[in-house]
């Protein structure tokens, strides 16, 4: 393992939080991403659904029951502004079973291709509005890496390993929270411009002030360039 990979892996693992005296839940998190490129712009249309299959409060027995979480439909437009940099603006529509939420998204992305892996840094600000809650303002930083599992590049019919690590700072009224996400995924290039990924989407939040909440989702992503 190269020095860069080892440092990155250790950095991500060192931010994981223990599971004692906390609540946890989780389920499925499938998403479909359709991307179209035209005249220097890339358009991403995404549908994602969150579904819970277990709930584990600290004072009660674990329960395995199905519970619909939410559905997100979003659109993002990105433009390259330099050889390795892009900016993006987007909008997300969320239905969580009770209310509709509207989210406005702004992103700055830096992508680097090294000899045998890719690295992307993403800074995001977003603002979420709904009729039943106060607005939520977030500042996010994510680092994402992709390592081919055969050769120095990912080719058609080859697997790769993807690791995302993200910090989300959220402010709602006078309340502040920090969420940390770690997402190890295995991906497969079905055809040029089409890949599918499966992995764990682990999220921990509310650990600065309240009872820590852990979430584990089985993520299944499909990316298709039209």
């Amino acid at each position: 393992m190269t020095k860069e990979r080892l440092c990155l892996t250790l950095f991500i693992v060192s931010t994981a939080v223990g599971l004692s005296q906390s609540r946890s839940d989780g389920g499925l998190l499938p998403s479909v991403n359709l991307i179209h490129k035209s005249k220097g712009y890339a358009y991403n249309f995404r549908i994602e659904s969150r579904q819970f299959v277990f709930n584990d409060p600290p004072s009660e027995r674990s329960t395995f029951t199905y519970d619909y979480g939410l559905t997100d439909i979003s659109g993002l437009v990105s433009k390259k502004v330099d050889f390795d940099k892009a900016v993006a603006l987007g909008y997300l529509f969320r239905w969580n079973g009770n209310a509709i939420e509207h989210r406005f998204i702004q992103q700055f992305i830096v992508t680097r291709k090294y000899t045998d892996f890719k690295l992307a840094h993403r800074i995001t600000t977003d603002q979420t509005f709904s009729q039943i809650e106060a607005p939520i303002y977030r500042l996010r930083y994510r680092v994402a890496t992709e390592f081919p599992l055969s050769g120095d590049n990912v080719d058609v019919n080859e697997f790769y390993f993807k690791l995302n690590h993200e910090y989300l700072n959220a402010v709602q009224g006078s309340q502040y929270d920090l969420e940390i996400r770690i997402l190890p995924f295995i991906g497969y290039e079905i055809a040029a411009g089409s890949n599918i990924e499966i992995g764990i989407d682990y999220r921990v939040n509310s650990f600065l002030a309240k009872e820590t909440e852990h979430r584990f989702f089985l993520g299944i992503n499909w990316f298709k360039v039209l």
Partner: protein, 200 residues
């Protein structure tokens, strides 16, 4: 029993997915073929190529790759030589084709470097050199003698550059090949795989 909204959404998603998977399978045959590279064991390498590499004085062993570009098959040994990245390419029979050694741009003689820079500036005012490699071609015994040396000074080679270029508000990656005088002999566009899965 799913909530009504989820039930209808699930049906919509499944239907959309089915259509898109069908489109994906039909569209993939119309897309341009790209060079495919995958790691192989030493045992899969042609004997002639293995024998050549066995004579190269290096501290660490090479990694072997098989490359397919349509019907063309080549074998590539990658490693480090005198602290530089090196790639040695063989045809499907194991006969050496070329040696490429990564170097800094400033190692190119100044007059040649200026000629190369002038060509790149003609392409675009905005460009960035990602990689520069010396390319050596010749008979196997000549190329083996090259690898027995301690340095590349006084040797004649081609120069292969991988360059990011901005043209008409669009970004491209080209592989340029210059001869040892700095004259452009080949220019190919590199179709890099997209990075949407780590950007979005």
């Amino acid at each position: 029993m799913l909530p009504p909204f989820l039930s209808s959404l699930s049906k919509t998603l499944l239907g959309t997915l089915a259509v898109l998977l069908y489109l994906n399978s039909s569209l993939s045959y119309a897309q341009e073929k790209q060079e495919q590279e995958f790691r192989i064991d030493d045992s899969e390498v042609p004997q002639a190529a293995s024998s050549f590499i066995a004579q190269v004085p290096v501290k660490k062993s090479f990694r072997w790759y098989k490359e397919k570009n349509g019907a063309l098959v080549t074998f590539e040994a990658k490693g480090r030589w005198n602290r530089h990245e090196i790639s040695i390419e063989f045809d499907d029979a194991g006969v050496i084709e070329d040696i490429e050694i990564t170097q800094k741009m400033r190692s190119i003689p100044q007059a040649v470097r200026e000629r190369i820079t002038a060509v790149l500036k003609e392409e675009s005012s905005r460009y960035r050199i990602k990689k520069m490699r010396y390319q050596f071609v010749g008979k196997p015994e000549v190329l083996l003698a090259l690898l027995m040396r301690d340095s590349l000074e006084q040797l004649s080679s081609n120069y292969e550059l991988v360059v990011q270029v901005k043209v008409d508000n669009a970004y491209h990656i080209y592989e340029y090949l210059f001869d040892n005088s700095g004259k452009l002999t080949q220019r190919l566009e590199v179709m890099e795989r997209n990075s949407f899965n780590i950007q979005f």
